[in-house]
Amino acid sequence: MTELQKTPARAAAPAGGGEPYLSVRDLRIHFDTDDGLVRSVDGVSFDLAKGRTLGIVGESGSGKSVTSLGIMGLHRSKRARITGEIRLDGEDLVAAGPDRVRELRGREMAMIFQDPLTAMHPYYTVGQQIVEAYRVHHPQATKKQARARAVEMLDRVGIPQPDRRVDDYPHQFSGGMRQRAMIAMALVNDPSLLIADEPTTALDVTVQAQILDLIRDLQEEFGSAVIIITHDLGVVAELADDILVMYGGKCVERGPAETLFDSPEHPYTWGLLGSMPRLDRELQERLVPVKGTPPSLINVPSGCAFHPRCPYAALTGGRSTEETPGLTEVAPGHHAACHLALSERHRIFTEEIAPRL
């Protein structure tokens, strides 16, 4: 256990150099439910510097959304038990009171949600909602100033005729426009951390790329740190500098995006890559799904949570069912949690996995 807790702390050096803006250490978010303790997030650590983008990838129920809600302090449930450290610019948010976190929310850290239609209030105009977000943290601003700011932000995210569209209701916007408005609302206070939770999942494919471009452009402009949460490896390939793969509430692999795509170490990551359609490779007969279903977060499988679905579990000599693998550094900045011997892993990857990708 001590081994397990030490490893992530040591391993998580800031990837972009300099002090990390956001530093998460051994974050655990557990929920007490009638059915038992749900370990939604179970010991996740990472660092993120300003100007860098971290992609968190995983299936539904892998804990990626709960991680982001935990950072924002939005895991609103009295049954939630949160431990570990979330340092935002040096300040520990886990230890901070809810009022302090609320002050930071929307000002220092902002979030974009999956479905912009349900995420915006249907009874208020887009402008009113952006103005509200601005004035919470700028109480001295007049309504006129706030409105001017809203128009400016709508213009910034590429909404045509922003001075007119500002008075429209969300249902009068198209899906892509709504997500742009959502982004405008999130960025209205110049936050240093932007969390995008599946920002393109609910959108038309043709619009997805535009939104991702927009997020990248705005990040360059504002220099903020971005966390992008997705189950779509294509999205992280587009945006992320670093990638964190989550499975069963734990981080199973973490590293620079290029390394992770070129030489993934964890069998689960192989599975994810194998199930992703690629146009830049030869056509496969079929995409290979990861067999089985995501684990229950109440009865997480013993040992390595992935072992019931792992085709190579037998090669670990029983360790995968008994011992929880810790993250180990396999290359500079690249960590994986797998019991397979390094040489074995590399052999399997080059012989069996790589040709199929």
Partner: protein
């Protein structure tokens, strides 16, 4: 928005017309289909064993011998422009809106009926204010702390409120506050314009007993609605902005949860304005409900017709107001 209002008002007017035609048909066509003759109808105006001449005179003067559609047309005309009846020795004017003449006391229906409206209006508005405020407040607090002690107790009381009829709670309140400890005895309806304090004092018990029933319902409705809206994505967005929880609840949660409440409130209020029968009976209030009961037991068709139309009018009016409120509250209604 303007076109929407006009459309709604026109629809309400058409609806009223249909209701009046159906009601008229029920009262004047159905008895005939059931075998009642025009003579028997006319007899009810004069009393027992009338002479054939008298019957003929009544039939002619009240137009009962004319075809039904003419009678209906005259009825409608009377509503908007009044009518003249040669009833008895002197010609009598039936003023606008003319609902016709009562069989029993040979009086115009409307003045009798309209005297009752302030009583029912006072009862309904007072009770409605009470139950809306208490019901919604209870529902919101319960929804914010589901399964807390407050939630369990208030929902228990709400269940009792829904189950207990007014003739029980009303009688109980009367026994306790008017007879055992006569704090509120001698309850007589006093006009608001005459003495607002006495008006409120004498109506407080009926208000409470009526509001108890409804606030229970509204508390449960609000609780369910709030539980649903508070788990909406836009509530999470509101929190993500850093809004204070109080604002999240009122500006974002309650605003959306109130829409269905407004609809039901309009219906309930409209229904009550047509007469709160049991409450009026228990507290001896001479309201529209009592008037209707009297008319039915007297078999006084024009009175029954008048009350029915008045009740229908209130329901249509309240629904119209609800529709307009809806458009003001929910921008999506306006444009569709």
């Amino acid at each position: 928005m303007f076109a929407y209002i006009i459309r709604r008002i026109l629809a309400a007017a058409v609806l009223l017309l249909v209701v009046s035609a159906v009601t008229f048909a029920i009262f004047f066509l159905l008895p005939r289909l059931a075998g009642e003759t025009v003579d028997q109808l006319a007899t009810q105006y004069i009393g027992k064993n009338p002479s054939p001449d008298a019957i003929a005179a009544v039939k002619k003067n009240l137009g009962l011998d004319q075809p039904l559609y003419t009678q209906y047309w005259n009825f409608l005309k009377g509503l908007v422009s009044g009518a003249e009846y040669k009833f008895g020795p002197e010609p009598a004017t039936c003023h606008v809106p003319c609902f016709g003449y009562s069989f029993k006391n040979h009086l115009e229906v409307w003045p009798e009926l309209s005297k009752r409206i302030p009583v029912t209006l006072s009862l309904a508005i007072g009770a409605a204010t009470l139950w809306l405020v208490s019901g919604v407040a209870t529902g919101v607090v319960s929804a914010l702390r589901p399964r807390s002690i407050f939630d369990r107790i208030s929902m228990g009381i709400a269940l009792a409120g829904v189950s207990l009829p007014v003739f029980f709670t009303g009688a109980l309140l009367l026994t306790v506050f008017s007879y055992e400890w006569p704090i509120l005895d001698n309850l007589q309806y006093v006009n608001f314009t005459d003495d607002p304090l006495m008006w409120a004092r004498n109506l407080i018990l009926p208000w409470i007993s009526l509001a108890f029933l409804y606030s229970a319902l509204y508390a449960r409705l609000t609780r369910a609605g709030m539980l649903e809206t508070m788990s909406e994505d836009y509530i999470r967005t509101a929190r993500a902005k850093g809004l204070a929880e109080r604002k999240v609840v009122t500006r974002h949660g309650l605003r959306a949860a109130l829409t269905p409440i407004v609809t039901i409130f309009g219906m309930d209020l409209g229904l009550l304005l047509g007469g709160a029968l049991i409450t009026e009976q228990v507290f001896s209030l001479q309201g529209v409900g009592q008037f209707a009961v009297q008319a039915i037991s007297d078999n006084d068709l024009p009175k029954i017709l008048g009350t029915t139309l008045l009740a229908a009018f209130f329901i249509v009016l309240c629904n119209l107001v609800v529709d307009l409120l809806y458009a003001a509250v929910d921008p999506r209604v306006r444009l569709s």
